[in-house]
């Protein structure tokens, strides 16, 4: 008979437990629990386990038998396993109870202060690394400008195509929706004061100076910054970065520079698209407020200046440089293993978005 639990008998002085035919990963839990309960309830008496029926144990079953043999009990309360098959006994006899006395190291819970301290130390270390990386990037830029053939423009074009041309649909969609939403929300408030026409000024200035570039930069950080970190991170894990270094090449020059150049060129272009489509979306909404396209156009020309447009474009170039730099840096500092690549990509996006807001704030202060 095969049962899922151990049977207890009391034939002689010792408590006796008959073990079932099979103890496996699937059947061991109740057997193990009831057996330990028996041991706990009989701390002073001997206990006999009758293994005459036991024909098969897997690794869990072997661990169960071993657990019986390593329990601390008094000299008069020994545990005895009788009639254990040779092949089953062989699974247990190689282990020494002394090897398992120390509990396995668990994951230590860190307090909030330790977390805070560690996070601060990480950020300081990151800032130092970033300064070093930017210095290396500046050196690579200087070389690109002064030495002919220092930049592989084919690489730059490939990256620009992937980061720019392929991002056009999503930039158009987000830019359009941003224009529509801004015009609609401001329009509803302005209508109450009879100032609907000034919504055009708001849409034009907001899109050119702030929203076009911000939305495009956020999309760029999520799409391209993460891709840069993941690509370079995978190359780091596969030791391609080491191979580049041992060829005498500078990884910053070889891997980061083309991406930095592509980002600086592409993000302003995407921003122009976002600006145009956003203003177009705003114009469409303004029709519902009885402001026609011609009226919108003439009002817009009076409201915006070339300076507004250029501010957005310069900001886009700076943000493109920052997003690419953060992505490349996170990629180059990737640790070992696939998990690290994911962490680098996530970290690149989060850092970029925080820096986008910070840089936008600095521009606002400097140009006000």
């Amino acid at each position: 008979m095969s049962t899922g639990t151990a049977n207890r008998t009391g034939a002689d002085d010792a408590e006796s437990i008959r073990l079932p035919e099979r103890i496996t990963a699937q059947t061991a839990a109740p057997i193990w629990k009831s057996t330990l309960d028996t041991l706990a309830h009989n701390p002073a008496g001997p206990i006999v386990f009758d293994a005459s029926r036991l024909a098969y144990v897997d690794n869990v079953g072997a661990a169960f038998l071993f657990d019986l043999t390593r329990r601390e009990r008094s000299a008069h309360a020994q545990v005895e396993i009788r009639n254990l098959a040779l092949n089953v006994a062989a699974l247990v006899r190689d282990f020494d109870a002394a090897d398992f006395v120390v509990p396995p190291p668990g994951r230590r819970d860190r307090g909030i202060l330790e977390h805070l301290g560690q996070a601060t130390a990480q950020q300081i270390a990151y800032a130092k690394q970033m300064v070093g990386f930017l210095r290396a990037c500046a050196g690579a830029f200087r070389e690109a400008l002064t030495r002919r053939g220092a930049v592989d423009w084919g690489d730059v074009l490939d990256i620009a195509t992937e980061a720019g041309a392929n991002a056009v649909p999503i930039v158009l969609l987000t830019g359009f929706l941003m224009g529509v939403i801004i015009a609609f929300e401001i329009g509803l408030v302005a209508q109450k004061f009879g100032a609907v026409i000034f919504v055009v000024d708001g849409v034009g200035i907001a899109m050119l100076r702030e929203l076009g570039v911000l939305m495009t930069a956020i999309v760029f950080a999520g799409r391209t910054g993460a891709a840069f970190a993941a690509q370079i991170g995978t190359q780091k894990v596969n030791e391609e970065v080491n191979a580049i270094t041992t060829f005498g090449l500078n990884p910053v020059h070889f891997l980061a520079l083309p991406r930095l150049l592509a980002a600086v060129l592409v993000l302003p272009l995407l921003t122009v698209l976002a600006d145009l489509i956003g203003i177009f979306g705003g114009a469409l909404v303004m029709v519902t407020f009885d402001v026609g396209f011609l009226q919108f156009y003439s009002q817009l020309l009076g409201a915006i200046t070339a300076g507004d447009f250029m501010l957005g474009i310069i900001k886009a170039a700076v943000l493109g440089l920052m997003i690419a730099a953060v992505g490349c840096h996170r990629g180059l500092t990737t640790g070992a293993g696939a998990t690290s690549v994911g962490l680098s990509a996530t970290s690149a996006v989060v850092t970029s978005i925080v820096l986008i807001v910070v840089i936008d704030g600095l521009f606002a202060v400097l140009t006000s």
Binding site: T24, A25, Q26, A28, A29, P30, W32, K33, S52, A55, D58, N59, V60, G61, A62, A63, F64, F66, D67, L68, T69, R70, R71, E72, R73, S74, A75, A77, Q78, V79, E80, I81, R82, N83, L84, A85, L86, N87, A89, A90, L91, V92, R93, D94, F95, A97, A98, D99, F100, P103, P104, P105, G335, A336, G337, A338, T339, S340
Partner: protein, 272 residues
């Protein structure tokens, strides 16, 4: 005081079942239109260590992936402990796959878990054991593969040989009967490779596991294999099966002797 436990061994091991652990019949497999192996038939008997060998591109790893149900064969049948893997439903296939322990070339440990947690992972998923009992089982497995000292380390901190040994321990956690190892010795130093060979032999002896090992490391083949099956990428078939020492000395096929004696090609082969 640590109690002395008496373990009275009273019976001999049960006689092994005559049914093969793995039976492959007229297998045809490959990728897309590209056929790697045609009309392959062989058995792996319980408690046996069978090595699948062959040159690069001969389909060794693909054969292993077919045997564990990751690749669907183009034709033929794969029978695991009497049940067909090819015609099994998704649920039956999952049950059959649980009988197989697999160690992939890189160890395939989960990067976010430490070594002990990796080995405990199948126990966490498929058993009702308490954490203490799961930890004890996992630690005993790590002892068996000589990795007890590394239980708290993360996979990124392990050497190639340690990754493979931890991979074997994890593969065994649910009490599989058959272990499939993909290139266990590849890229290891001779001492680590010899240790791994010793671990495989010890697991066969003490746990009674059946092994199918994909490798082309000659020293490992001679150290562990009861039988070798050789695949040939040109004829896309099994060209030899037998004891490695017999194949090296007495095979009638020159390609087999060349492989076992590690001889270079006399002339550059034309691509097939």
């Amino acid at each position: 005081m640590m109690m002395q436990t008496q373990v009275n061994s009273g019976r001999a091991a049960a006689a092994p079942s005559p049914a093969p652990a793995i039976s492959v019949r007229n297998l045809r497999m490959g990728h897309g239109p590209r056929v790697l192996l045609e009309d392959a038939s062989f058995d792996v008997w319980r408690g046996e260590i069978v090595v699948v060998l062959g040159g690069s591109g001969s389909g060794k790893s693909s054969l292993m992936k077919s045997l564990i149900g990751l690749y669907q064969p183009m034709a033929g049948d794969i029978v695991i402990e009497g049940r067909s893997l090819v015609t099994a439903s998704a649920q039956e296939k999952a049950q059959l796959q649980r009988k197989l322990g697999v160690m992939y070339q890189s160890g395939a440990l989960f990067g976010s878990l430490n070594v002990l947690e990796n080995v405990r992972f199948p126990l966490d998923r498929f058993t009702d054991l308490t954490l203490e009992h799961k930890n004890l089982t996992a630690r005993m497995l790590l002892h068996r593969v000589e990795m007890a000292h590394a239980e708290a380390l993360m996979p990124a901190e392990l050497s190639g040989g340690m990754l493979k040994r931890a991979g074997i321990a994890r593969a065994m956690a649910l009490g599989c009967d058959i272990l499939l190892l993909d290139e266990p010795s590849a890229g290891l130093d001779p001492i680590t490779a010899a240790n791994l060979d010793r671990t495989i032999l010890s697991l066969r002896e003490h746990v009674g596991l059946t092994f199918l090992v994909v490798t082309h490391e000659l020293q490992s083949i001679f150290a562990i294999a009861d039988r070798a099956i050789m695949l040939d990428p040109v004829s896309r078939s099994i060209i030899a099966s037998g004891k490695p020492a017999d194949l090296r000395s007495h095979s009638s096929d020159a390609r087999v002797r060349q492989f076992f004696n590690r001889q270079p090609d006399a002339h550059k082969r034309r691509p097939s």
